[in-house]
């Protein structure tokens, strides 16, 4: 396996995207809103594709704004339908995101008579191409770094997400754990909910170019779920989810380069393998986690080891 500069950037960008998603994902998982992440990622898709068409894959401010709006719309409409229509929440989500997706698709087809859009790019990104779009060339330790656009944007989004989680840590914790109490204490849990959804939408936009929207969903949910099985402290859970996300990015790229070789192929899509590695890591954690892992629980039951 040959490792180029390109590869390092691919891993870095993948890791940035993964961690940006993972820190938010903790609260989605704890609030049982994982599928909301799925819904928002699907709903912003057509808008992203359209912007991709019109501006040539540049993640512009208007795109972020549009994505934030779609994200809020998804959350708001789902709540409306669920509350006023008294429809099951999962069904409401499904209706909203498929409709928004179809509407977006319609718009794209109307506008896309000139450009040949590769839909795959939107679904699973083109992380392999991202390092080529260099926008910044700072000098570090007498070597010139060629920083790709995607890395800058994702770093920005990551920073925003981390600050959000740090700043609102106790409010997020309270609203996720006991929204009723939050309301009685005067903390607006609705506001927290919409802020979270907005950030999810913005992160999806930032990451789609690199890893595509499906992998965004994987990074939102899987590292957080694995971290949930590893610890009983919320701040550790957030930390672990970030570390696992980085691990997914690194192992994902390496396995994308290496594993197909075992079967006689060349390499394959890094983002796909990132999701697969996330699944593998989750599987390992689910089996072997020290307190909540399946094997440990089975042992505890058969040998009657007293639980700590």
């Amino acid at each position: 396996m040959e490792w180029y500069n390109l590869d390092t950037w691919i891993v870095v960008i993948g890791a940035l995207a993964a961690v940006a998603c993972a820190v938010l994902g903790n609260f989605l998982v704890l609030r049982r809103m994982s599928m909301m992440g799925d819904a928002i990622s699907h709903a912003v898709l057509p808008g992203l594709a359209l912007a991709f068409l019109m501006t040539g894959a540049r993640a512009s401010w208007t795109m972020f704004l549009g994505a934030a709006l779609v994200g809020i719309m998804t959350a708001v409409f789902t709540q409306w339908i669920s509350r006023f229509g008294k429809v099951d929440e999962g069904a409401s989500m499904g209706i909203v995101f498929t409709t928004l997706f179809a509407a977006g698709l319609l718009l794209i087809v109307q506008a896309a008579d000139h450009v040949d859009l590769d839909p795959g790019c939107v679904l699973y990104g083109a992380i392999e191409l991202t390092p080529l779009d260099v926008v910044w060339r700072p000098t570090l330790l007498s070597a010139v770094l060629e920083v790709p656009r995607a890395a800058l944007i994702l770093s920005g989004v990551l920073l925003v997400n981390v600050c959000f989680v740090l700043l609102f840590f106790k409010e997020l914790r309270l609203c996720s754990f006991d929204p009723e109490l939050a309301t009685t204490l005067g903390i607006n849990s609705n506001l927290m909910h919409y802020l979270l959804m907005t950030l999810v939408a913005v992160t999806t936009v930032a990451a789609f170019e690199a890893v595509g929207s499906i992998i965004v969903i994987a990074m939102l949910i899987v590292p957080a779920a694995a971290a949930h099985l590893l610890t009983d402290r919320l701040w550790l859970m957030v930390l672990f989810s970030a570390l696992i996300a980085i691990l997914c990015a690194v192992s994902g790229h390496i396995s994308a380069l290496v594993v197909p070789g075992f079967f006689g192929f060349a390499d394959t899509s890094t983002s796909g393998m990132m999701a697969v590695m996330a699944g593998v890591i989750f599987g390992l954690v689910a089996l072997f986690a020290p307190r909540h892992g399946i094997l440990v629980r089975m042992l505890r039951r058969t040998r009657k080891i007293p639980s700590a």
């Binding site: 049982r32 999962g90 498929t98 179809a102």
Partner: protein
């Protein structure tokens, strides 16, 4: 804009391709609508989402297997089998995660969905490098090929729809019980697991067959939207399923037709939007559970409550004002000052005036002294007496039969005879008369003391 003859062509399905597309999507809509009804009631609407995403790696594996076996790998039955297998595996994984760890349902679905789909993408990436592997055929599982369906698709969909309909009819009462009360079904000896698996299998078949013709998003929408729309029109499962299938079918037909004669409207997207419109219309106007109906019902309930409060208040004021000895005679109608009525309950000036206005329009009372006094009419007094009597019977019933009362009580004092029956009402009245020292006044005394007017 197409001209009239083109539109007629589409409606009459003169074109073979259009015919195929319309029929296929109609069938799919019916089958999905039916299955979607069961899913909605089991609160598993997003299973279609999980299934369809989890099916992708199966397609890839099946293709590779087919090529390895020496074919071109694009045989539809093979691909469908592969898709179904990984789809089912995905569902099994969701259940496993949910039952064996502290990860909840939604996160388990998200994990399976994204990981399996990622695996599918990785596989597709490999397939693209294979000499035989133009993945264009395989990608129809994601995007569908609504515009280019073939007879094979039609036959497959006919088979699937028929199977789904037959099985649903045969097992209707079992499935209905399963959806409504799983525990009770189990206690009756119904094989709950097996039925669940059957349901899952049917959904998988419909999803996988549908995916490759209309694509992922449309299948998800088809499994959710028509059923959710149908729910607003009825409370009976059988009718709901029929409606759901109908809405699915019609959405398919309309969407495909519209897409056929208007330029650049992808069929899948059109169908989803048509279904969504049906849903919106049902949400707002559905007869049983639509928003409009509920709002109107609530408004009429509020009005009736306001009217009853008013009449009862007036009656009680008159009752308290008449001296004790004349209690055996019917109550005399005298004008009642506005402020007495106002002070009886926590209603505002504006609210009270509105209620009075409506009662006046219905001939139950008149305003006097420029609105400062209220005088009940004959009809008004009769109604007030009836309201008060019914209310007091209800109160007495609540006291006497407290342990069953909570399930029987209806806010509407009008219905005391409907709910309790004439016999019960007569019995209560007798008891009240025995307890009280009042003569044969049609309105029994109040079970609790009435606040004096100050």
């Amino acid at each position: 804009m197409p001209d009239v003859s083109e539109i007629w062509d589409v409606i009459l399905l003169r074109d073979y391709n259009t015919r195929l597309v319309v029929f296929c999507t109609m069938l799919l809509g019916c089958a999905c609508g039916l299955m979607g009804g069961f899913l909605l009631l089991r609160k598993r609407s997003l299973m279609g989402d999980t299934l369809s995403h989890a099916a992708l790696p199966g397609v890839g594996f099946a293709f590779m297997f087919g090529v390895w076996m020496g074919g071109d790998g694009k045989s539809l039955p093979l691909l469908l089998c592969g898709a179904a297998l990984t789809g089912l595996l995905g569902c099994a994984t969701v259940l496993f995660i949910r039952n064996q760890t502290r990860i909840k349902d939604d996160a388990a679905m998200g994990i399976v969905l994204s990981v399996f789909f990622g695996a599918g993408i990785a596989l597709l990436g490999l397939i693209q490098t294979m000499p035989k592997g133009s993945a264009a055929g395989l990608e129809s599982f994601i995007y569908g090929k609504t515009a280019s369906m073939v007879m094979q698709d039609f036959k497959l969909l006919v088979f699937i729809t028929l199977s789904v309909v037959c099985l649903s009819l045969l097992l209707f009462k079992e499935l209905r019980l399963l959806c409504f009360d799983e525990k009770f079904a189990a206690s009756l000896g119904l094989p709950v697991r097996a039925l669940d698996l059957l349901l899952l299998g049917l959904v998988t078949a419909v999803t996988v067959a549908g995916m490759q013709s209309v694509g992922l998003i449309l299948i998800i929408a088809f499994l959710i939207t028509p059923a959710a729309a149908a729910r607003f029109w009825t409370d009976r499962l059988g009718l709901m399923l029929i409606l759901s299938a109908a809405i699915g079918g019609v959405s398919g037909w309309l969407g495909a037709s519209l897409s056929a004669f208007l330029p650049r409207l992808p069929a899948g997207a059109m169908i989803v939007l048509v279904a969504a419109l049906f849903f919106l219309a049902s949400l707002l106007g559905g007869i049983k559970r639509g928003v409009l109906v509920r709002v109107l019902r609530q408004r009429s309930l509020q009005r009736r409550i306001g009217r009853q409060h008013l009449l009862r208040a007036l009656y009680e004021i008159l009752e308290a004002a008449s001296p004790l000895e004349s209690r055996s005679q019917p109550i005399v109608r005298t004008p009642v000052p506005f402020r007495f009525v106002r002070g009886r309950r926590s209603w505002s000036d504006v609210e009270l005036r509105k209620i009075l206005k409506r009662a006046c329009a219905d001939g139950l009372l008149r305003h006097q002294q420029g609105g400062d006094e209220i005088m009940l009419t004959e009809a008004g007094l009769a109604q007030a007496a009836k309201m008060t009597r019914n209310h007091r019977l209800w109160e007495f019933y609540l006291i006497e039969y407290a342990e069953v009362a909570t399930s029987r009580v209806d806010r509407d004092a009008d219905t005391v005879e409907h709910v309790l029956g004439h016999e019960m009402v007569a019995r209560l009245e007798l008891k009240l008369k025995k307890n009280s020292q009042v003569g044969p006044n049609p309105v029994p005394a109040s079970p609790h003391p009435i606040q004096p007017i100050d």
